[in-house]
């Protein structure tokens, strides 16, 4: 893991401003799409932190998903032994769901999360909310609300630190997969 750098993206330094930007977009989305009483569901772990802020802002119920059992790289990368349980303390049938992750990269996590969601029921709609997205999409999945889009080089990743103070930064892996 190399040195943290935020040089090319000064916006990253002000994560609270990005979060506020995201909240504005969500308010707009809910208004224009008439999303009545949406549910907020965060993807473990960073997505849950962002989802918490959103749920608080909207006064909406909060759930969390751990998609480890739904991943498509299980046969290649194995299973993470400590999977924190998914908990959706509400019925998602016919409800509007705001699915929240911190970073949208390949889109595979979102694919897995949607698969898992449908094991809990059939939502009326799912909107994807991410704090930032990176130009490495591998699936036709994009965010409905996103505070920042980045062009990263191979080997660079976005990381969200939390949960109390949210802080985005770019990290580099020498041996990226």
């Amino acid at each position: 893991m190399g040195a943290t750098q935020t040089l090319h993206y000064p916006e990253l330094a002000d994560t609270p401003a990005l979060v506020n930007n995201l909240l504005d977009q969500i308010d707009q989305l809910i208004f224009t799409q008439k999303l009545d009483q949406p549910l907020v569901i965060g993807i473990h772990t960073g997505g849950v932190w962002v989802a918490k802020v959103i749920a608080q802002h909207l006064q909406a119920p909060l759930g969390q998903l751990d998609i480890a059992f739904y991943r498509d790289d299980f046969s290649k990368n194995g299973l993470h032994p400590q999977v924190s349980p998914s908990s959706l303390p509400f019925n998602i049938n016919d409800r509007h769901v705001l699915l929240v992750d911190d970073v949208l990269m390949s889109g595979r996590t979102i694919r897995a999360a949607m698969n898992e969601l449908f094991d809990f029921g059939r939502p009326a709609s799912i909107k994807l909310i991410t704090l930032c997205s990176v130009n490495q999409r591998e699936l036709p999945i994009q965010a409905d609300a996103c505070a920042l889009s980045l062009d990263l080089e191979a080997g660079q990743y976005i990381q969200l630190q939390g949960p109390d103070t949210l802080k985005l930064s770019i990290i580099e892996h020498a041996n990226h997969d």
Binding site: K76, G78, L79, P81, V83, S84, P85, F120
Partner: protein, 339 residues
């Protein structure tokens, strides 16, 4: 972690067969327990299924009857979304004279990914893993008197979830140690996980020779054997042993080694009582204890499914990684030398 010749592990030290806890390190056993913990939660959800083994084929090969073990393995595989085939070998082609090897090769040709093997001969699962189908993940569901690793590990899961850290625990294993395939694996697993006070309790006729070399103490007296322990594991008394010279009578056995409420008072007040089932009420254990607040017997059944889901998904993942590594590593392809 790298693997230095353990058949159960891949070159990178990942689990690819699960035959016995013997030879695995503490980290691996803890990983199995951690993974099982995650699956316990799945069992409490409305949809109890995850897609980890979707598209994989698991064959339950039961050369010996065992309704409980077979049904929990079947349920575990189904909750992982695998396709499951359960073969009752007695009614299959082997009774028409087909050899074990031919049966296995046929199943392999059907692109099976995992065999769950129960056999009355010690070492059967090991033999299949090493000689017959090395590219199919083998889970030992009990072989002869040798091993029954998923039962031993579900007992470890029960202990860890209800008692915590193994290092400070005293554990008594009571009954027919000699004929038990679980007791050996329990001792191995407890040792690996750091438990230092392991007591084997039973009559001399049912105690293996030289067992103390495994680092355990033996006790013929039940009261002193379970004195102050945190965990009492009762073993099933195989009633067929009654006819032989091992035991005088069921009544005599219960008087000396049966777990009653009075006797359980010798253990710590918050001690837990375990039994692999099926229980013989009034022979090994009194109903008041089996159904009492300290009994973990029904918890064990649920944990058994989670534990089996854990080893099945880990072994399948290890096999897949191994296959993947072979497919992408050109050095693993053997080439005939050019003339």
């Amino acid at each position: 972690m790298t693997n230095s010749g353990n058949l159960q592990l891949t070159a990178n030290g990942e689990l690819r067969h699960f035959l016995t806890p013997e030879g695995l390190d503490r980290l691996m056993l803890e990983r199995i327990l951690d993974t099982a913990d995650s699956f316990v939660v799945i069992g409490n959800q409305e949809v109890k299924k995850v897609p980890l083994l979707r598209g994989r084929t698991v064959v339950n090969l039961f050369f010996e009857n065992s309704t409980r073990t077979r049904s929990t393995f079947e349920l575990a595989a189904k909750r992982l979304s695998a396709d499951v085939l359960t073969l009752d070998i007695k009614t299959s082609a082997t009774s028409k004279g087909e050899s074990l090897l031919d049966t296995l090769q046929n199943l392999r040709a059907m692109h099976s990914d995992m065999f769950v093997v129960r056999h009355s001969d010690s070492g059967a699962a090991h033999f299949i893993a090493s000689q017959v189908t090395p590219d199919v993940a083998i889970i030992n569901a009990g072989d002869g008197r040798h091993a029954h690793p998923t039962q031993a590990m579900l007992d470890m899961l029960t202990i860890r979830r209800h008692k915590g850290n193994f290092e400070s625990l005293s554990v008594a294993i009571v009954g027919d140690i000699l004929h038990s395939r679980v007791a050996r694996d329990q001792v191995h697993a407890l040792k690996i996980l750091g438990c230092s006070d392991i007591r084997l309790v039973g009559p001399n006729t049912l105690m293996p020779q030289a067992i103390t070399s495994m680092g355990v103490t033996t006790h013929n007296n039940m009261d002193s054997g379970i004195d102050g322990v945190d965990v009492v594991i009762m073993l099933r008394l195989q009633t067929e042993r009654m006819d032989s010279a091992f035991l005088p009578s069921a009544g005599e056995y219960f008087r000396l080694y049966g777990l009653t409420t009075e006797r359980l008072a010798q253990a710590k007040p918050d001690a837990i009582v375990m039994h692999p089932g099926p229980i013989n009420r009034g022979i090994e254990i009194e109903s008041a204890v089996a159904d009492g607040p300290q009994s973990m017997i029904l918890h064990q059944v649920g944990y058994g499914i989670a534990l089996r889901m854990a080893v099945m998904s880990m072994a399948m993942s290890g096999q897949m990684q191994q296959r993947h590594a072979k497919a992408v590593n050109p050095l693993s392809l053997k080439r005939e030398p050019q003339p």
